[in-house]
């Protein structure tokens, strides 16, 4: 099973690919919209890419709760373990 930091690093690569944010900036306390400038359409792209990468489902209703990178990493960890 991937460690928390491995999940964060893979998610950072996705955010870099979709939105051009340097992967090193994608840290647990960062807000997708306020800190990383990921707009709502790019967030959908990030979510779909993350579903594929981590083999999890992230329902649309859940996306609004994923405000920070840490929120997303925690959700992915829970979904993988569930």
């Amino acid at each position: 099973m991937a460690t928390t930091d491995e999940i964060r690093a893979d998610l950072a690569d996705i955010v870099n690919e979709v939105a051009g944010i340097p992967a090193d900036d994608v840290q647990m306390d960062k807000s997708f919209t306020d800190d990383l400038d990921v707009d709502s359409l790019s967030m959908v792209e990030v979510v779909v890419a993350a579903e594929e990468k981590f083999d999890v489902k992230i329902p649309d209703d859940e996306v609004k709760n994923l405000k920070t990178v840490g929120d997303a990493v925690a959700y992915i960890e829970r979904a993988q373990n569930g």
Binding site: V18, A19, G20, L41, V44, E45, V48, E51
Partner: protein
């Protein structure tokens, strides 16, 4: 009436990555037609096309590019070059040279974001709805190139996308002229873009028997008015012109390439795909453009023809030119730059208007290549670069489209 000047030019075409390299290639008679390297082409009857000389991925930021259909990428490259060339862009320390609310865009496309549409349809069928991009709609909508240019240069007067197949680019120029003359804008960035080198449009044009099948000799395939012509070569690319009111241009001491003096727009109401064999609508479009420009046929020295290298179209246009100009037709130097660029569909009028403007500006007409066994049109077609004389010069650019659309633009030296 308000005079409209051309004060900026930009292009990304099959023969060059910007306006000046495109112009140099046209004067040198260099073809941009090549074999298509991608595997999908091998199943088609036509395996050649005129793809852009410089891929937009080499020019645009990666993240910006992945949010744009290829047609919008090409349009943005051309428009930003024209915008910078006009001197209106300003830099970090100075304000742009035109108020946003007086700045418009008219960027045409014949087909729109067809590559985005088809790629997402493939994803839908192969992987399901979750794999359709959330950016698909803003990428594939035909107004996307115009809207993205508007965002980039902060244009807040009208932002428009005329659609009239292969006349679209010229229709955008006509609309830009109107916007300035009606007082709706001081500056309008106009042009056309197309990126349809993809198996579906290629197969569809092939089924219409519209495309050349001279696959073994790509550079010789686009041969307007030559008896051996067998259809057009699909091209891709974009071109943009900055149109500006005379008053605005003079007040800032702008560099002026030419005057966009008038436009003529007509419809054939003859057939959805075939040209009127004697080009009545085309004749009226040319006459209307001359009338609007207060230009007599005798003043004309040059026409950049639509001439796509199809058996019917080239002859119908030749007839229309003779009918429109009468005896003056013999004094006009004709060329078809499509012999080198292929047919850029919705971008054709824009790229060829750019060539017409530069022909007046540099006083030389680019050649029509591959014209080895010409039809007996009775017209003077340049097969080598042809110098134009001293004094005031006037020219037309013709574009016609499926649907029976005819748009002629009249330009005058300044």
């Amino acid at each position: 009436m308000t005079r409209v000047f051309v004060t900026g030019l930009g292009a990304t075409s099959p023969v060059g990555g910007d306006a000046s390299s495109t112009w140099d290639a046209l004067l040198e008679g260099r073809s941009g037609v090549r074999s298509i390297e991608q595997e999908w082409a091998q199943q088609l009857g036509t395996t050649i096309a005129a793809e852009v000389a410089v891929d937009p991925s080499e020019v645009l930021d990666r993240v910006k590019a992945r949010r744009l259909d290829r047609s919008a990428q090409l349009a943005l490259v051309a428009a930003l070059e024209a915008w910078a060339d006009s001197g209106l862009a300003g830099d970090d320390t100075e304000k742009p040279g035109v108020e946003s609310e007086r700045l418009g865009v008219a960027m045409a496309s014949g087909i729109g974001g067809v590559q985005t549409l088809l790629t997402n349809y493939d994803n839908l069928n192969l992987k399901g709805p979750r794999r359709v991009s959330p950016l698909a709609i803003p990428m594939l909508m035909p107004n996307s190139p115009a809207a993205n240019i508007g965002l980039a240069i902060r244009a807040q007067a009208g932002v428009h996308t005329p659609v009239s197949a292969c006349a679209s680019g010229n229709e955008a120029i006509a609309l830009g002229i109107d916007m300035i003359r009606l007082g709706r804008a001081d500056v309008v960035v106009v042009g056309g873009t197309e990126a349809a080198v993809h198996p579906l449009p290629m197969a569809a044009f092939g089924q219409m028997m519209a495309l050349s099948k001279r696959n073994d000799d790509p550079e010789a395939a686009s041969r307007p008015w030559d008896k051996g012509r067998d259809g057009f070569v699909l091209g891709e690319g974009a071109a943009a012109l900055v149109l500006e009111s005379e008053e605005h241009a003079r007040a800032r001491g702008a560099k002026v390439y030419a005057e966009a003096a008038g436009a003529g727009i007509t419809a054939d109401s003859h057939d959805i795909a075939q040209p009127d064999p004697v080009g009545r609508g085309a004749t009226r479009a040319m006459q209307m453009a001359l009338r609007e420009a207060h230009m007599s046929a005798d003043e004309l020295v040059h026409i950049n023809a639509h001439a796509t290298s199809t058996p019917q179209g080239d002859l119908a246009e030749a007839t229309a030119i003779k009918n429109a100009l009468g005896d003056a037709a013999g004094g006009v130097v004709l060329t078809s730059t499509k012999s080198m660029t292929g047919h850029l569909l919705g971008a054709a009028g824009a790229l060829e208007s750019l060539a017409t403007v530069l022909a007046l500006h540099h006083r030389i007409v680019p050649p029509t290549i591959n014209l080895e066994d010409p039809e007996d049109t009775g017209l003077d077609i340049a097969t080598e670069p042809r110098k134009l004389g001293d004094g005031p010069l006037a020219a037309l650019n013709n574009s016609f489209g499926f649907g029976g659309h005819n748009v002629a633009i009249a330009f005058r030296s300044v």
